[in-house]
């Protein structure tokens, strides 16, 4: 028996308990390895913990991250106020229009219900109604010119026109001066001049944050036509503000957008 054998016997005597313990640890590590390497087993162990954490996260978000998110949103909105207003204006405008249209429809239905049968027959077959229809067709409104104008300076940003008129930049300046004058005269904040009538011509003005749109129309400007013009304006402005860098777009580009939006439109 050499020196090494003796040491080995001594180790076996001294570390008998340890070797059992090591074996147990090795076995547990093997089990752990099996669990980790087997996706199903691993997921059965880990999933409940993650789900519980997620549940806790969901309930704690408003408390922990809420104030930070709110503060960030507030800061971003404040920083880009004009863009936010420009983006929201057409959407809100459409919502309000939809609501008003719905209310008017309800009112109209109510009136219809209250009309007598005789009234209805007269209205359907009466010659005066047909005459009115023909007159309305003859004097239906047409879009003559559309101007996109900077609200404060009155400078013309872009235009679309089917008829030759005097200088559009001067018209924009004059319209802005008139608009400022009327709005100042009544001293009401956040109220805008919306319509200018002269004989059979009408100028529909729709204000946004930095710009306003003036649509010059000829003919009989009915509520229905007004409704359609408003929709066209909101549609154009929504597309316009969604264009990358719309404030710095060149006039030619916006002129094309205006023409695409307003030409061939029957009111």
């Amino acid at each position: 028996m050499n020196e090494n054998d003796k040491i080995q016997i001594l180790k076996d005597i001294l570390f008998a308990e340890d070797s059992v313990y090591i074996e147990k640890i090795a076995h547990r590590i093997e089990n752990l390895e099996n669990t980790i390497n087997d996706k199903q087993k691993f997921s059965s162990k880990v999933d409940p913990i993650i789900l519980q954490q997620l549940e806790e996260f969901k309930t704690s978000i408003p408390i922990t991250l809420g104030p930070t998110i709110t503060a960030t949103l507030k800061a971003e909105i404040n920083k880009n106020k004009d863009e936010v207003v420009d983006a929201l204006f057409p959407i809100l405008g459409k919502m309000i229009k939809k609501y008003i249209a719905h209310e008017i429809k309800m009112l109209s239905e109510k009136i219809n219900r209250q009309l007598s049968f005789q009234d209805k027959v007269k209205s359907w077959f009466g010659s005066s109604s047909r005459k009115q229809e023909i007159i309305n067709e003859l004097v239906e409104s047409h879009i003559e010119q559309v101007l996109l104008i900077e609200k404060e300076s009155g400078l013309l940003k872009a235009s679309y026109s089917i008829t030759e008129t005097i200088d559009e930049e001067m018209i924009s300046g004059m319209l802005t001066a008139i608009k400022h004058f009327v709005e100042d005269a009544f001293g009401k904040k956040n109220q805008n001049l919306e319509l200018i009538d002269y004989e059979l011509y009408h100028i529909h003005l729709q204000s946004f944050n930095d710009y306003y749109i003036a649509v010059i129309l000829s003919g009989h400007y009915t509520t229905q036509a007004k409704d359609k013009v408003q929709n066209l304006i909101f549609d154009f402005f929504e597309k316009f503000t969604q264009t990358e860098g719309y404030r710095t777009l060149d006039t030619e580009n916006i002129n094309q957008q205006l023409a695409l939006n307003f030409r061939h439109e029957h009111l």
Binding site: E150, K151, E152, S153, G154, L155, L156, D167, E169, M170, G173, M174, A177, I178, H180, F181, E183, D184
Partner: protein
């Protein structure tokens, strides 16, 4: 390339603002508008270089003895200002410092030209002496009647506005 700029011309009653502008501009609406709503819009294209023009949209505001009371909305979005006084009537330039201070508080950070008009009615050297004595600084002395320095005034302002636009 063409850019458009808004400039406002203002000053006391009867200093010759409208005559000054008419010397420079041919294209305008009827002047009746100024009586109705206190402003008259005119336009003039100025060639500042071979390939660059500036459309000056000129807002001719009605004369007032109280510059501080000028309608704020007419000054919105202004790119340049021309303040006109009458060299023959000291009352139009005696309070010029207060007038300009009031104006600068309403229209910030835009080029402003101070102009003494009706030079044809006085001796230039004498006027300059009076203005110097009263510590009144000015950019131009003009005559709407003879056209003296009128084009220079508008053209220099147009050039300044082009430079401003490039810096933006």
């Amino acid at each position: 390339m063409n850019i458009s700029k808004k400039i406002v011309v203002l000053g006391h009653f009867g200093v010759g603002k409208t005559s000054l502008i008419r010397r420079f501009v041919e294209n305008s609406f009827s002047n009746d508008y100024r009586v109705s709503i206190g402003v008259h819009i005119l336009k003039k294209k100025v060639e500042v270089s071979v390939d660059e023009t500036v459309s000056l949209i000129i807002w001719d505001l009605e004369g007032t003895d109280n510059i501080a009371a000028i309608r704020q909305s007419y000054l919105l979005g202004t790119h340049g200002v021309i303040y006109v006084f009458d060299v023959t009537r000291p009352i139009t330039f005696q309070a010029i410092e207060e007038d300009l201070t009031a104006l600068k508080s309403k229209v910030r950070n835009v080029p402003m030209k101070v102009v003494g008009n009706k030079l044809d009615m006085v001796v230039e050297e004498e006027v300059k002496k009076v203005l110097l004595e009263n510590k009144i600084s000015f950019d131009y002395l003009t005559s709407a009647k003879t056209g003296d320095k009128v084009n220079d005034l508008f053209e220099q302002l147009a050039k300044m506005l082009t430079l401003d636009a490039k810096q933006i």
